[in-house]
Symmetry: C2
Subunit: 238 residues, 2 copies
């Protein structure tokens, strides 16, 4: 972050930052390694909770998990470069507190489903006794939108407040089943449904994970599926 | 790193680890942020010194550089996933001590040339007064060669001992000029020369940075250019 080039955080910066977390299939995770004092960067698969907070699935036998258990302060780097200069591509460093999600909790079942909707291959190991889901509570973030475009964000810029309360009415299996059906009707193989929440949907456009935020946040299933229908109608038919 | 799946470090693991550092155009850099206690992951361009040690170019105004100045313990994550499951791709976490390279030193001139041979666009800012080169001295590394293939390495596995002494006879500008000429004679636009050292050459194969290690380490320019010639002759003509 360059002090001279630090810009005022606006709606566009917040939207870009949210996209960089939500559309990332994986991240570089930095943890404090207690034994050595070194900060360790490793690769983890990423999903999001329905409020936009990132979530990771890690083995309790791995170096990074042992580090998190000793010190819950972590950061994730998201925003992978495509072709061209790697520093011209936007990326985000998000400081988070890692919170273990109790395997016996309802929240674990929700997050587990959400994780697998994005990473179906993880089904072969997600239920191993040494594997755990951690929710990463964003504290603050540094956005680098490319050369000379630096922004500082708060944790609250990345999550929708009170979104977890949606789970009171939101039935993710029901909503996902119906939303997936609408995508299948489009009959365009370049687009595949991934997951849904009251705020938007994830889908695969060719190989890339994409996020579409609805214009308003749904408060019931009828409203939600109507918004999915509107979106699905805009997907070009082959 | 999984204790159950930790394997004995062999020559193939060391060769893979060296390749993961040397062929990486960029890395995720983890640093200790003194003010917050959080480990920070950010993106940096990477080059290597002639012994294989990584080197980075960073702005003194950036968060990561201020962190390095307060605590020289860092790690880099290298090995970018291509298509498919990101966790199936090999990657390496290397713990390093970051050493500022004195701008007035001969070593800085060598490293500067080496950095620019790989990242020519950095020419526009490498000489800005706030930009500095840091050499990262490898301390140890964790190699993840894909599911169930974990190895622990020492810093010495990643660098060639005494290689920096080659600078006594090695004239990088002279060697690079002649090696580049041999590549141009091949007339295959998929291959472009990047840089050379007594141990091997870097070249671009389409868009990818590749490293070729010679069968022996050169001890003079004639021997070195003969090895480049042998390699260039093996590049397919279009």
């Amino acid at each position: 972050m360059n002090r001279n080039i630090l810009r005022e955080t606006d709606g566009a910066a917040r939207a870009l930052a949210r996209r960089l977390v939500r559309e990332a299939p994986y991240a570089a995770l930095a943890v404090n390694e207690e034994e050595t004092g070194f900060p360790l960067a490793s690769r983890v698969l990423l999903a999001t909770d329905i409020d936009g907070a990132p979530a990771i699935l890690v083995s309790g036998l791995s170096v990074h998990t042992r580090a998190i258990e000793a010190d819950d302060r972590v950061s994730i780097l998201t925003g992978e470069p495509a072709k061209g200069d790697p520093l011209a591509h936007p990326r985000l460093t998000t400081r988070c507190h890692a919170r273990l999600v109790d395997r016996e909790s309802v929240h674990h079942a929700w997050l587990r489903r959400r994780f697998l909707s994005r990473h179906p291959k993880a089904k072969t190991y997600i239920d191993f006794p040494d594997f755990n889901l951690f929710r990463l509570e964003p504290v603050s973030a540094n956005l680098n939108g490319g050369f000379g475009k630096a922004f500082v964000l708060e944790g609250a810029d990345l999550v929708r407040p009170d979104a977890l309360k949606s789970y009171r009415w939101f039935d993710s299996s029901y909503a996902a089943k119906h939303a997936e059906g609408m995508f299948l009707q489009v009959e365009n193989k370049d687009y595949a449904f991934i997951d849904i929440d009251p705020e938007g949907i994830y889908f695969r456009e060719r190989r890339i994970i994409a996020r579409h935020d609805f214009e308003k946040v749904s408060t019931n299933h009828d409203e939600l599926l109507e918004l999915v229908h509107e979106f699905a109608c805009k997907i070009p038919k082959i």
